[in-house]
């Protein structure tokens, strides 16, 4: 059987490992794969520590990735563990092993009889490759692949042999059958282990990615409790991405427009001869943003995420004032700034959350307290479903706000078809909003915020 193991080409283990690394969440580009192959040409496969260092240098490019890489490498290059595990569970087998001459035409049987661990390990590897175990995706497939690998190793023949021995009922035969059976049981466990390891290696990353994709486009109000932690991570990631992109004051060069004043100034040293040209540039300012976030009962499921995002925005933008409202409105900038995210959200919800919303009241509160801070540079973002429980909508305040501010953006978590139905005042507020968007998934939220940040020139 060991003779049947195809000697894999040198790049085969690497190719598989790259697949594993990607599954584990490392972002490995094709170019990096080539680099890895070149690096291994130099280093070779001989020294495990050097191999690990080398691949780590080429493939993992952040501390987080280094940790993931470490895990994946240890899991993948763990083959020695197989023989060791059999060693431990090896007891009283010596008697049977010294029983020669009973070999059948089956290749697995002598391997089992002789307890040839290296041979078994190699055969198992080959069978695993043959059965395509790296395609495993779900834990329900574990039995299937275990069976497939065992079959590929020729288990059927061994089972037949045991059957035949039992039928003969010679004491020697019975003893041998018992021995084979215990060995087969052990082998089955080892194969199961192998399949499990493969599932960890190949399926984990993909499942994770799949879930994340799912969550990003799931309606925020439908997200289940068990996915909260994952969502939190996703929101944080998204916010970090936005922050990195927009945190700096940016400048854009205006093509071909000479800044005469600064050019002359710069070239004073050369008697005003313009050796160095200075071009006009436009400074893209960070937006001044005021966010009003609904935390009332009707959007309670969503407001968690809205607040989370508000928190992240708070880090990204220097000039942001945040407010939360249900029946009335309070400023929450300070809480968001000082407390870590979980506590901040809790505190806000405690202070004002879960009430029944009254948009008219909230707007009036805002006008009383903060209207004077709204300038023609301010972008006002309102997060809410516009369901004011049939209270006076006070649209005239929104009209005044719209006149004072640069623009008003309303993000509504409801389907657009529901706007204006029942106690929703969305249609009444709509004329005063520069932009009105449905915002019910994380993806919507990201797109909206990114648009706000981008368009703030």
């Amino acid at each position: 059987m060991p003779g049947r193991v195809d000697a894999p080409t040198a790049s085969e283990p690497l190719r598989r490992f790259l697949q594993v690394a990607r599954g584990a969440g490392l972002r490995v580009s094709a170019a990096e794969g080539i680099d890895a192959a070149r690096a291994l040409d130099v280093i070779g496969y001989g020294d495990r520590a050097a191999l690990k260092d080398t691949l780590g240098l080429v493939l993992a490019k952040t501390p987080d990735e280094k940790a993931l890489y470490h895990e994946a490498f240890e899991l993948y290059f763990k083959h020695e563990a197989f023989s060791a595990a059999i060693d431990e569970s090896d007891d009283g087998a010596a008697a049977g092993a010294a029983d020669p001459g009973q070999g059948s035409g089956n290749a697995l049987s002598p391997l089992l009889t002789e307890d040839n661990r290296a041979g078994l390990a190699a055969a198992m590897e080959a069978a695993a490759r043959e059965s395509g175990v790296e395609n495993i995706r779900f834990f329900t497939q574990k039995n299937l692949y275990t069976r497939r690998i065992l079959m590929a190793m020729g288990l059927r023949a061994v089972e037949d042999e045991i059957e035949a021995l039992r039928r003969d009922e010679t004491p020697q035969g019975m003893e041998r059958a018992g021995l084979l059976e215990s060995r087969v049981a052990r082998l089955r466990e080892a194969v199961r282990d192998l399949v499990e390891r493969n599932m960890l290696l190949f399926a984990k990353g993909e499942n994770e990615q799949y879930r994340e994709e799912l969550l990003k486009s799931a309606r925020l109000s439908n997200i289940e409790r068990r996915d909260m932690e994952r969502m939190r991570v996703l929101v944080r990631q998204m916010a970090k991405k936005l922050a990195a992109r927009y945190a700096k004051t940016r400048r854009r060069r205006l093509r071909g427009q000479l800044d005469v004043r600064r050019t002359l100034r710069k070239n004073m040293g050369w008697g005003g001869i313009p050796f160095v040209t200075v071009w006009k540039q436009k400074r893209i300012e960070k937006p001044r943003v005021m966010v009003l976030c609904d935390v009332s009962g009707s959007v309670a499921a969503m407001s968690q995420f809205l607040l989370m995002f508000l928190y992240a925005l708070n880090e990204a933008l220097s000039d942001i004032r945040s407010f939360a409202y249900s029946g009335s409105l309070i400023e929450v900038s300070e809480i968001l700034e000082k407390e870590p995210v979980e506590q901040a959200i809790e505190k806000i919800m405690e202070a004002i959350g879960f009430g029944s919303s009254n948009y008219g009241n909230a707007f009036a509160d805002f006008e009383d307290g903060w209207m004077k801070l709204v300038t023609n540079k301010t972008t006002l973002i309102i997060l809410g479903d516009a369901r004011g429980n049939h209270n006076e909508p006070r649209t005239e305040i929104l009209a005044r706000l719209s006149q004072r501010s640069k623009r008003i953006i309303w993000l509504n978590p409801e389907y657009p078809t529901l706007w204006g139905t029942g106690d929703s005042d969305m249609r009444r507020y709509a004329p005063f909003c520069n932009l009105l968007m449905e915002c019910s998934t994380l993806r919507h939220l990201e797109r909206a915020i990114s648009g706000i940040l981008e368009g703030s020139s």
Binding site: V42, V58, K61, P63, W270, V276
Partner: protein, 333 residues
């Protein structure tokens, strides 16, 4: 670093100026030995990185906390291979003219003044403007030639006949545009000067980029580099480093102070003491002829290790315990 950007690219030429080309490195062990001969005790991944960078001709991006020897690594590689070290300190606003090349405007101006009189004779008795211009054109772009080009660190690194070690320090401090600009030089070891053409490296330099991760670097840059993360060394490695950097330190004191620093790093501090601080502290202790680490001595010299008042206060409460543990571990009861 100096406050004058113009002076940032300086050559620390500690080479013995032998003209023999660099021999290819044979093994990782050779790197290990070479670096330690230059006074740098490298962990295995560090040596592997240098070895790979040499053979694959790829830059290394070195990340890690301040003071773990990122910059020192570049200096040591240069010293060991006796190559010149060209260092470029990055900062916000760094641009091509400071990193790559600049025209020598002053010289150009001066020469035009000097040559003013000659212009008449060159143009001669031309009747009209077209003929005069034609004559001038035949002289080519003399004022935009190599003679008037001031090479800045990057260009200079490409022009070293034996190759060099190019240290691009604190790349995270530079702008994103500059990072993009570096891509050409990092992948092909060539740069394009519009007036002159493309300049390729005679010998590809060994490039080290360092970053303190004040911002996330672009993926494009990371993809082109080997990524080396240098963390705080473990106890054994740190002891070896101190022994190499502070020769003549008493073995027992060494053991104590390393154990103490390792314990200090387990605390929740604003800024953890780095290797460079440990070295400084070791030097201070040697100067003070300390042989056994006592609580009083530690308290007096703690400001060498910790740079924030709050940190010193936080550690102060546990000094006695940590000092005793360090003594125990060094076999002094």
């Amino acid at each position: 670093m100096s406050a004058f950007p113009e002076r940032h690219g300086r050559i620390m030429d500690n080479a013995q100026n032998n003209d023999t080309p660099l021999k290819p490195l044979q093994s990782i062990d050779e790197v290990d030995a070479g670096l330690s001969a230059a006074g740098y005790i490298a962990s295995r991944p560090i040596s592997t990185a240098i070895y790979l960078a040499h053979h694959l001709q790829k830059p290394i991006l070195v990340e890690g906390p301040a003071g773990v020897g990122k910059t020192e690594l570049a200096k040591s590689v240069a010293a060991w291979l006796s190559l010149p070290l060209i260092r470029m300190q990055c900062y916000e606003g760094l641009d091509e003219s400071k990193a790559l090349y600049e025209w020598k405007y002053g010289k150009q101006l001066l020469y035009t003044q000097i040559l003013k009189d000659k212009v008449g004779s060159v143009i001669g008795e031309s009747d009209n403007l077209a003929v005069a211009l034609d004559k001038l054109h035949s002289f080519g772009d003399i004022f935009f030639s190599r003679n008037f080009l001031e090479p800045r660190p990057l260009l200079r690194a490409l022009e070293q006949p034996r190759g060099c070690v190019l240290l691009i320090d604190e790349i995270d401090k530079s702008d994103q545009e500059f990072e993009a600009f570096l891509l050409e030089i990092l992948s092909d070891y060539q740069v394009t000067v519009p007036e002159i053409g493309t300049v390729s490296a005679m010998v590809p330099p060994i490039v080290l980029l360092t970053s303190n991760s004040t911002r996330d670097l672009g993926d494009a840059l990371k993809r082109r580099c080997l990524h080396l993360h240098i963390g705080f060394p473990d106890e054994r490695l740190e002891a070896r480093i101190i022994a190499s950097r502070v020769p003549g330190i008493d073995a027992r004191l060494l053991k104590q102070l390393v154990s103490f620093v390792q314990q200090l790093r387990a605390l929740d501090l604003k800024k953890l003491p780095s290797v460079s601080e440990t070295i400084d502290w070791a030097k201070v202790l040697v100067l003070m002829h300390t042989s056994v680490l006592e609580v009083a001595v530690v308290r007096d010299t703690l400001n060498v290790l910790l740079k924030f008042e709050a940190d010193i206060e936080a550690a102060g409460k546990q000094l006695a315990g940590m000092t005793h543990k360090a003594q125990r571990e060094a076999g002094i009861a």
